[in-house]
Structure formats: C-alpha cells, structure tokens
Amino acid sequence: MKKKVFKILAWGFATLTLIILCSYAYMNYLTKYKFIPKENEFTKRVAYIDPEKALLSEDFETCSDYIFDYYNPERATYSKEKNGLRKFILTHYKNKNYNDSGYLNIRFVINCNGETGRYIIHENDLDLEPKPFNKDLVNQLFDLTVQLKEWNPNVIRGKKRDSYMYISYRIENGEITQIIP
C-alpha cells in the first residue's frame, strides 16, 4: 500500500515538474523566438533614453533601475503647474528672427526626488517629418527647459518614482504657438 502511494506521489511530482518545465520552455519560446519580427527587433522599451547618448546625464541619478512611463500630466507635474511652465517659457523665449516651423520635442527623466536629466531632442516639421531647426533656437529652448527645475515626481502605488516626461513645443515662424502636453 505504502509503495503504491509513493509511486503515485512520484508520478505526480514528475508530471508537475514536466508541466512546469514545459510551460517555462514555452514562455521562453514565446518571448524570445515566436513573436519576433524578422527586421528591426525591439530590444529596449520605446521610452528608453540611453544615458550614453543623452544630454546632461553625467551627474544625474535615478532612484531605481526601472523608470516608469506614465504620461498623464496630472501625475508627474511641474511644481508651478502648466500655467507656470507656459509663463516661464513664453516670458523668457526670444524669437531672434527665426523662420522655423515644426515641433521641437524634448524628452527627459524626472527622478523620484523631482530632479531632471537625460535629455534628448526630436526635431520635426509641422507634418511630423524629421527636420533640423535653427541651432540657436534649439539651444535656447533646451536651456529654458533645463531651467524648469522643480518637478513633482510621479507617485505610483503610494511611492515616488522615476519617470519619463516630454515637452513638445509647436513653433510657427519662430513663435511658440503651443506647449504640449
């Protein structure tokens, strides 16, 4: 009788182990091999900013290895709200006879202490096609964006977190007509 119970338990254990191993192998197959495109495989998250390629990332530290990308502006906010952000940018920005039009987008990281770093810039025309802006305009808006220092960090599940953020400047003939989001 004891032998029979032992045999059943052994078979049960062996079956369970096999199921777990097969599931693991199948999940591994799914994530690494099955649903992978032949060209341009994604190896990083879309939001990822490479610290090696980013601006002002030398002395910037994140609080953890995972940076959230939750973009609702009511979660990670500028300390003086959108109105304060807009007022600061528009009062300090000078159109030095620029004739550029398009979207100048600046993406960066806000760490859990509300500090910013790892900036990257995307320059596109009004049809959202890549097109470089006047260098002086880019430098001016980048400097102003960096000066927006006090940010409220994202709070997720009751804890302050590192998160990605972006500001998009819509520019028409050198004038800022919209600040998004």
Binding site: L30, T31, K34, F35, I36, P37, K38, E39, N40, E41, F42, T43, K44, R45, V46, A47, D69, Y71, N72, P73, E74, E81, K82, N83, Y103, N105, R107, H122, N124, L126, D127, L128, E129, P130, Y164, Y166, I167, S168, R170, T177, Q178, I180, P181
Partner: protein, 269 residues
C-alpha cells in the same frame, strides 16, 4: 500498440491543423499576445511588428504600434505607423487621426481635414472617435482656431442631434461648456449663459468652468456682488475636483486655481 498509433496520429493531425494557420490567423495570435504586455515594452512592440510583417493590411496592428510613440512624444515614429493604419482602414482611423491631431499636436487644421473626410468616407453615419461625434470635435477644433461662428455651428448641430436621439440630459456636459465658451468669446453673453446654465442644470450645479465664465459675464453686466458669489462657488467646485480636464494632455481652455484667484482679486479691487 493500437492505442499508441491512435495517439500518434491525433498529435500529427493537430500539428498539421496548427501548421495550416493563415498569416492573418498567425497575426491575430501575435497581436493577442502583444496585448498581454505594457504598451511600449519590447514584447509588446515585437509582437505587433511581427503581426504586421505577417499581415501588412491589418490597420489595427499598425495603430497599436503607433500609439506608444504618440504618448511618449516621438511624433515622427507615430506618424510613420499611424498613416499605415489610415491607408488600410481610412473609415475607422482617419476620424481618429483627427482626434489625435487635435489633442496631441494641437493641429486644428489637420484635425478638421480628417473630421471632414469622415463625412465622405461614411456619408450616412456620424463617426465618434473617443466617444464624441466628429461634429463635437470640429466644434473644439474651430474654437482652437478662434473661429467661433463655426465652432457654435458644429456644437449646436451635435447638441441638437444628441437631444433628438437620446434627450438633453444625455448630452455630454462639455458640449454645453464649449458651446458656451465659443459664444462667450464672440461676446454673445445671452447664448453663452443658456449653455453654461444647461451644463450646471444637468451637472448637479457643479462646474468651476461654467461658474468662472458666468462670473465674468456678471462682472461685464456690473453685477459685482453676484459675480463675487459666483467666483467663490467656482473656487469651491474647483477644489472639489469639478473642473474640465482630460488625461494625457491639457484640455482646451483649461482653467487653473490662479485664474480663479486672479479674477477674484480683480473683483475685490
């Protein structure tokens, strides 16, 4: 022996059936798998990129690839993928693109072009991307362009249709608010008040925005005491969370505490 043979044949048959899936079916499996992951993660993106490799005509998968870039402020990548969605299913995704141009790029003109296109793409049907009719969205877009006459025309059309079909209490409160704001900006205070009052009537008398505009109208009519009471009520509503805002982006004509505070200071001087 016979049993083993049956089992072997069954496994073989199942394998053949699985192997016989069309590319469309395989793409569907890939997209289902992709939806298991957070938008923008490599597993999510790879699954949809794989899906469009298998079936490049599936508009929804192109759209899913694009949305990640939209929310993360990477416009050129959003456009590259989203335009494919429109190419393969303009009826569904062109009005939606108008909605995205409107809010994520504040490109009112491009938004209107896409909303107008829906009139001919679906002539007997009023599209409603993100839950509002294209007429409602055109009302917003023309308000953004400061074309108040056209803004009111589309809002009136939207409100009339919703009221006829479902009743006035079914109309989204922001339709009254924005219709009122367009009248207010055109200095048609009478029609502005009609709309702000409807918003308050159907919204349990709670709206910092409607009250803020009403307070301004009262001030213009030199009814200062009533205006002060109205702005106090607006501040109370704002502090209770009853103000117009939307996820991901700032809404059009969004009000902030300092707007209310500044107006109150103006009344007290």
């Amino acid at each position: 022996m016979e049993k083993s043979l049956k089992l072997y044949l069954s496994i073989l048959l199942v394998s053949i059936l699985i192997g016989c899936q069309t590319n469309q079916e395989k793409a569907e499996k890939a997209s289902k798998y992709g939806f298991l992951f957070y938008q923008g993660n490599p597993q999510h993106m790879n699954a949809f990129a794989y899906a469009v490799e298998l079936d490049s005509t599936n508009a929804e998968n192109w759209r899913e690839l694009s949305v990640t870039y939209l929310k993360r402020g990477i416009p050129h990548e959003w456009k590259k993928y989203y335009d494919k969605a429109v190419e393969y299913d303009a009826k569904t995704w062109q009005p939606w693109r108008g909605y995205l141009y409107l809010w994520f790029y504040r490109d009112y003109k491009k938004a209107i072009v896409d909303f107008d296109a829906s009139d001919t793409l679906t002539p007997n049907f009023i599209d409603a991307p993100q839950g509002h009719s294209v007429d409602y969205w055109r009302g917003i877009a023309y308000l953004g362009l400061k074309n108040y006459e056209k803004s009111n025309w589309y809002f009136e059309k939207h409100i009339k249709k919703e009221t006829e079909d479902f009743g006035e209490d079914y109309v989204d409160l922001t339709a009254f608010l924005y219709n009122g704001i367009a009248y207010f900006e055109a200095e048609n205070f009478e029609d502005a008040l009609v709309n702000f009052d409807k918003q308050l009537k159907h919204g349990r008398n709670l709206s910092a925005d409607a009250k803020y505009y009403k307070a301004q109208i009262l001030k213009a009519e030199n009814r200062i005491v009533e205006s002060k009471a109205m702005i106090d009520s607006a501040i109370e509503d704002f502090n209770s969370g009853y103000y117009n805002h939307r996820p991901y982006v700032e809404t059009l004509k969004q009000i902030y505490p300092e707007d209310l505070k500044n107006f109150k200071t103006l009344l007290n001087n």
